[in-house]
């Protein structure tokens, strides 16, 4: 018996116009077109989407094997990137 000979696809759905595509899960399909059709049947049975992206899981490059990795450390100590870092008097309008 051939085992999992269909590649794994990751599925992204845009819920409605104006929103980003969001990862919703994965599925197996023989090719891109079938992956799209299967994704429609599996992840949008109740109007959950207006647009679907499917991408072969092997094509995704991920940041690191660990979700809390020093990879993100550089942004940890840069509080001056946030607007709340700056004290502005209450009576300055529109700022």
């Amino acid at each position: 018996m051939t085992r999992s000979s269909w590649p794994l696809y990751e599925v992204f759905v845009r819920g409605k116009r104006g929103l980003n595509h969001v990862h919703v899960g994965s599925l197996h399909a023989p090719d891109d077109e079938m992956a799209l059709r299967n994704a429609r049947d599996l992840y949008t049975r109740r109007n959950e989407g207006v647009s679907i992206w499917v991408v072969k899981a092997e094509s995704i490059t991920a940041s690191s094997p660990d979700e809390k990795d020093p990879f993100f450390a550089p942004s940890g100590d840069k509080v001056y990137r946030h607007p709340t870092f700056y004290a502005i008097p209450e009576d300055v309008p529109h700022l």
């Binding site: 085992r3 999992s4 919703v24 899960g25 023989p30 090719d31 049975r45 979700e67």
Partner: protein
Amino acid sequence: MQSRELDQFEQTVAADHRVEPRDWMPDGYRATLVRQIAQHAHSEIIGMQPEGNWISRAPSLRRKAILLAKVQDEAGHGLYLYAAAETLGADRAELTEKLIAGRQKYSSIFNYPTLTYADVGVIGWLVDGAAICNQVPLCRTSYGPYARAMIRVCKEESFHQRQGYELLMTMMSGTEQQRAMVQESVDRWWWPSLMMFGPPDAESSNTEQSMLWRIKRHTNDELRQRFVDMSVPQAAKLGVTLPDPHLVWNAERGHHDFGEIDWTEFWQVVKGDGPCNAQRVEHRRKAHEDGAWVREAATAYARKKEQAA
């Protein structure tokens, strides 16, 4: 001294954060999840059979369409869950093979036959209802992909339960014969539904560790009690009697007391000797093998297109 990885894992779980696929996790945690998620996925897939049996015989086009949509949802639930199991390194085809070989289990409830059309309603009300009780806390389980799959599942389950209850209300407002049919069905499904929560806490070997890992959030007995308490007023409103002479409100506990479950029957069905075990697995095997040519043809077509490109 324990490893930095284990520290990190325990901190994540203790802080009620989710463990994600590429995080380090203890082997036991991974194995427990694969076993539980696979069993859950198999239950959804096998669970299509008892009701699928009635799609062509449902009494109207409306009821056929509803039942078809419900059974299709269950297929979807199975696939969400297989996808979650795969993020742990399990192989989907291998899981199916294990199910067919009888090496992995599924919920024992699906080993009971659907003898009348009222069973479709009672399954929606009680079986999906019990499943919801089990599944709602799993939306907060510690493993991210499992929790996310359960959120999707739970959203869809409420349609399942409501269509079942509505079907029963319709039958109960029908003829004397239809009312008797509903009661007879409730008599058959009530106890097996209570068994869906698994063995009593004292005999549930995996519960303690699963609760520490926050895979499980409540014990079997807690969830069973919650289900009984929810079902009693629903049964009253429907006008059916739950087949348990010991079922009575206990004001002191703030819960219903209920009779002893026949655990001998439970273990018998779990171990493979239920009314339909052999038939369910055989049907799944046949569907899988009969579908092999479709999978092969699609693969061959994809390969041919790729070569032409």
